[in-house]
Amino acid sequence: MKEKIIETKGLVHNYKVETRQSVEVHEIHVLKGIDFAVEKGEFVGIMGKSGCGKTTFLKLLGMLERPTGGTVIFKGMDTEELWKDELADIRRRQIGFVFQDFYLMDSLSVMDNIKLPMILDKAEPEAMKKKVEELTEQFGITGLLYKAPYELSGGEKQRVAICRALINNPEVVLADEPTGNLDSKSGQVVIDALCKINDELGKTVVMVTHDSRLASFCKKIIMLKDGEIIDTIERRDSREGFYHQILDKTTEL
């Protein structure tokens, strides 16, 4: 049995929303007690309709939000028991984030954006340089290093974000709709990159998506509906077959 990287037990998350006149405050139950585990080297997709809690779930896995109930266990450690700076250390060293909106800092060059997690980890300049060169070459963005993020196309931005996510050699990459803002060609480049991360670098990838085609690249899919996992599909045969399987399931949703 493989090592569990991230595990959730009875994960609950609620939001409070107000009406237009703010007279009444409603509580929205986004996640309703999710038990889930990601094993080392898996490529897991999280699917579901809009508003089913996919992004919230990913944020909780990445320790970017505090759950209302339940626990997130990272490599056997209950994250509720960890200090804030320990969580920061985990985010910096063991998790890479790829967001739909890229979240690159316009004030910095592409190179500095990629380096940022290493800079925050007090890495040696030579090591940073070497790692940046290595990654940008792998993802074909060597020529963009001295540009500003706002000068890049969407696909380029996302590849920069992937490089930034990988720079500290994390165990897990959490991707939230990584192709959501991209055209199909750029999207393909990004998904190829994520597959490469998983297959060649052996990283665990957890990706939120609502795109069945994109999801077919994953090895396991969990289907969320109204804050609950309603199904788990594992890829056993060809990608094409898996795609149709996912398509059938999403139609049922």
Binding site: Q21, D85, A88, S107, D112, L116, I119, M128
Partner: protein, 844 residues
């Protein structure tokens, strides 16, 4: 084991205490029975030897009672014995303990009451020993437990700390790239820093100038009464208070925008796993650095303004008055003030600071602010009531009235606006029709309401408070006209010779009028704050007859007044003041008011009772001179009959009012001569150091001139500052929001909204933030001004004068505000146009 040891220790102590108590009780000869002294044992023995109590004391009485209670002592002794035995076996019975103490205590008390002897010392010694025993045992049993818990807790804490240190160990130094990233990020947002720094510069400049003016003018005035609310220092102190208040809110407002602008960067660092201490240091360096730069720049700007103001004052007031130099104390106090302002502004935004460092709080930043949904009608009505009562209780130049108003405005705007939105939003047609221009309120309701309240308050302070003060000074009569006589004396019986001598020697002219000192229980020159901290001295005014009143009119060359027609219980008051002050009641006692003061004929130190009088009428006229800015030394006119009879009864104290004019070259000589009178009647000045035996025109004129000029300079500065503050506030708001607004209009553009429609919408969105505060404050200021006309009893010519001066200045102020807003709207339109999709045929 340890616990067991403590228990045993406690029992040993207890046993020792018991032994001591028993020894004290039984072995010492405390009992005095007649001439004999006995121990307890000795007492029983003596009774036994005598053949019983009846034989020992055949007369009975208290000895019987003493004998009975002695059995209690015996019971106590037995209990002590049992207690000791139990203690020996490590058993401690609390009930037994209590019973033992009880028996012995009652025995002693009983003996003291009934016995014919003094057991006091024994009683105290016993109680003390028992009390001590109780406390020692308690301490041993409980404090050790507490100490042990504390020790364990500390140990746990130390271990946790060590564990935390081990887990969070993060060795090494940040690479050079780290600092370059921070610097690049800083440079990229330099405009926000500039605005942030500029707000600090504003605060530091205002504080330096206000505190500096206080400092350099502290020696200008001869009659200075800070506590009583008169004089220049009081004006300046109020200005400092106001400036502190404004700078706090301005700084807090800018902080809130600044933090928001930095939030995304800090959040990104947090997501990427920056250490919290590192982030705190970055924030602290940015924050403290900006504020330090602000302070230095503010000090420099403030010093420049101060030097210019000092130059103006020295030129205007001449060398006769002392305008102090700018000293280090100014900077020290400015620094203290600045730190206070920053601390409060930071505290107001504390939650936002915390949120910056919290990676879990991303939702809170983008979430729209809550619009109040409950208590809308009562809170709005309460706000309106505050506004109404602030207007109806408007006391000339009161800063509290404005703050009171501001609080009412806050409630009325916040809850009233929410109520209005609730009502209007019921109609979907209305809601969707006005949605775009109302988005700021739907999204940032509280911030926008606070902005409206603050801007309205600033306008109101400028137009409804300081402009009134400023114009009152401008239209006031020249100081020389307010002091028509060279000297005004209040004379006692026998002073006539001195005055006659002066007349003869210096070719002077003295007019003597009969007067009686009229005292009120409470002088009117104090304000509310003064009553909180000190005793207010009695008011002192000049009582004259109607005939004298007419003569004074004549002497001033004024047209003859109409007959006053005063009854015996009626008075007429002549307030001697200029148009920069309101008419204040001569008696500030509760229930007096302007119409019914309590008066006593005679000086404060004399006898007599206060009685309430009816003021038939009053007027503002200078007959003897504006001696106390209209707060004291006013003329109280009685009917001739009443005055004559009262005057006849007055044999001691002030009897005459002397108005003395002397040739200019002899002014100083006469002043010197009058000093003898002052020394003679120095007791007249003892009750209130504002009151003088005589008033010289030169000093009084100089005081008035210097005070007025200072007023003008200070008020002009404050009005300018308020105008700048209002402009800056608006600029800050729209500068920080520009990015969001442009994005939103870019979206409208994408959705196909015409450019003209966009421009119309942005105007509709921005202008209310300028128009509403101006409208509310102008209307309120107009009401305040009308009230001031009444309070200061302005004549129509004065009102016209005021309207010309004040109206022009208010118009200039409003035009500046409107022009500024128009420029901001224009700039925003340009920015929106720039961010539009650049396709299609361009409009020419």
């Amino acid at each position: 084991m340890k616990k067991q040891r403590e228990k045993i220790e406690g029992k040993h102590i207890s046993a020792i205490a018991c032994v001591l108590a028993v020894a004290v009780t039984f072995l010492l000869p405390w009992a005095y029975l007649g001439p004999e002294k006995y121990t307890l044992y000795g007492f029983f023995r003596a009774i036994y030897a005598a053949g019983g109590i009846a034989a020992y004391a055949p007369d009975g009485g208290n000895i019987y009672a003493s004998y009975v209670v002695t059995y209690l002592a015996l019971a106590g002794v037995l209990l002590v014995a049992v207690h000791e035995v139990l203690l020996f076996f490590n058993i401690r019975s609390r009930i037994l303990n209590t019973a033992m103490y009880g028996c012995t205590f009652i025995y002693f008390t009983g003996y003291t009451i009934f016995g014919g002897y003094d057991a006091g010392p024994a009683l105290f010694a016993f109680v003390a020993i028992m009390g001590l025993e109780f406390l020692v045992v308690l301490y041993l049993e409980q404090s050790k437990e507490i100490n042990e818990n504390y020790r364990l807790m500390k140990k746990r804490e130390r271990e946790e700390k060590a564990e935390r240190r081990r887990r969070l160990h993060f060795p090494g130094r940040y690479p050079r790239e780290f600092y370059s990233v921070i610097w690049d990020n800083f440079k990229y947002k330099w405009k926000n820093y500039i605005l942030f720094i500029l707000s600090g510069v504003f605060s530091a400049t205002f504080l330096t100038v206000a505190i500096g003016m206080n400092y350099i003018l502290r020696k200008v005035h001869s009659i200075e009464d800070i506590v009583l609310g008169t004089g220049m220092q009081q004006i300046l102190i109020r200005a400092v208070g106001l400036i502190m208040f404004l700078t706090i809110f301005l700084t807090a407002f800018v902080f809130s925008y600044y933090i928001k602008s930095r939030m995304s960067d800090y959040r990104m660092f947090t997501v990427l796993g920056i250490r919290s201490r590192t982030l705190s240091v970055i924030m602290m360096v940015e924050y403290a650095g900006s504020l330090l730069i602000s302070f230095i720049a503010g000090i420099a700007a403030g010093t420049g303004i101060l030097l210019y103001m000092r130059h103006l004052l020295v030129n205007k007031l001449g060398t006769g008055v002392i305008v102090s130099s700018i000293g280090p104390a100014i900077y020290l106090f400015a620094l203290i003030g600045y730190v206070i302002v920053l601390m409060i502004a930071t505290a107001i935004n504390y939650e936002s600071y915390l949120r910056v460092r919290d990676s879990f709080a991303s939702v809170k930043d983008v979430a729209r602010e809550k619009i109040p949904g409950r208590f809308l009608i009562p809170a709005s009505l309460l706000g309106l009531e505050f506004i109404r009562s602030s207007i109806s209780s408007y006391a000339d130049t009161s800063i509290w009235t404005v703050f009171y108003f501001a609080f009412g405005l806050y409630l009325a705007i916040t809850y009233g606006k929410a109520l209005l939105m609730k009502w209007t939003d019921k109609s979907d047609r209305y809601f969707y029709r006005h949605l775009l221009e109302k988005i700021p309120f739907y999204y940032r309701f509280k911030k926008n309401c606070r902005y409206l309240v603050m801007l309205t308050t600033i306008h109101l302070l400028a137009l409804g408070l300081f402009l009134i003060q400023f114009c009152g000074n401008l239209i006031a009569k020249p100081a020389e006209e307010l002091i028509p006589y060279d000297f005004v004396l209040t004379m006692h019986e026998g002073d006539e010779d001195t005055v006659a001598g002066i007349e003869q020697k210096y070719d002077a002219r003295a007019d003597l009028y009969p007067m009686i000192r009229v005292t009120t229980p409470t002088g009117n020159s104090f304000d509310f704050m003064a009553t909180l901290i000190m005793f207010a001295p009695p008011g002192q005014n000049i009582g004259i007859s109607e005939a004298t009143y007419r003569k004074l009119y004549e002497a001033r060359g004024l047209p003859e007044p109409s007959p006053l027609g005063l009854e015996e219980d009626e008075i007429h008051i002549v307030f001697q003041q200029d148009s920069s002050y309101k008419v204040r009641p001569i008696d500030a006692s509760a229930g007096a008011g302007i119409e019914n003061p309590y008066l006593k004929l005679g000086q404060p130190q004399g006898g007599g009772e206060y009685a309430q009088w009816r003021v038939k009428d009053y007027e503002c006229k200078i007959l003897t001179g504006m001696l106390q800015r209209g707060s004291q030394e006013n003329l109280v006119v009685f009917s001739d009959d009443y005055f004559n009879s009262a005057y006849a009864k007055t044999e001691e104290g002030i009897r005459n009012l002397c108005l003395l004019n002397v040739p200019e070259e002899h002014y100083a000589d006469v002043d010197r001569e009058l000093q003898t009178l002052r020394e003679k009647h120095i007791v007249d000045e003892s009750y209130d150091y504002d009151i003088r035996v005589y008033y010289g025109s030169r000093q009084t004129v100089r005081d008035i001139v210097s005070e007025r000029y200072t007023n003008e300079v200070v008020y002009a500065f404050v009005i300018l500052m308020l105008a700048a503050c209002a402009c800056f506030l608006t600029y800050i708001k729209f500068s920080f929001e520009a990015g969001d607004i442009c994005r939103r209009y870019g979206f409208y553009d994408c959705m196909g909204m015409h450019e003209r429609e966009q421009m119309k919408t942005i105007r509709k969105e921005m202008w209310p933030f300028a128009v509403a505060p101006v409208l509310i404050s102008t209307v309120t200021a107009a009401i305040y001004t009308a009230l001031v006309f009444r309070l200061r009893t302005y004549e129509s010519s004065q009102i016209m004068n005021y309207i010309k001066t004040g109206g022009t200045m208010a118009a200039v102020y409003l035009i500046i505000q409107a022009a500024w807003m128009a420029w901001l709207v224009y700039q925003m339109e340009r920015k929106i146009k720039k961010s539009r999709i650049n396709v299609g045929r361009q409009e020419v």
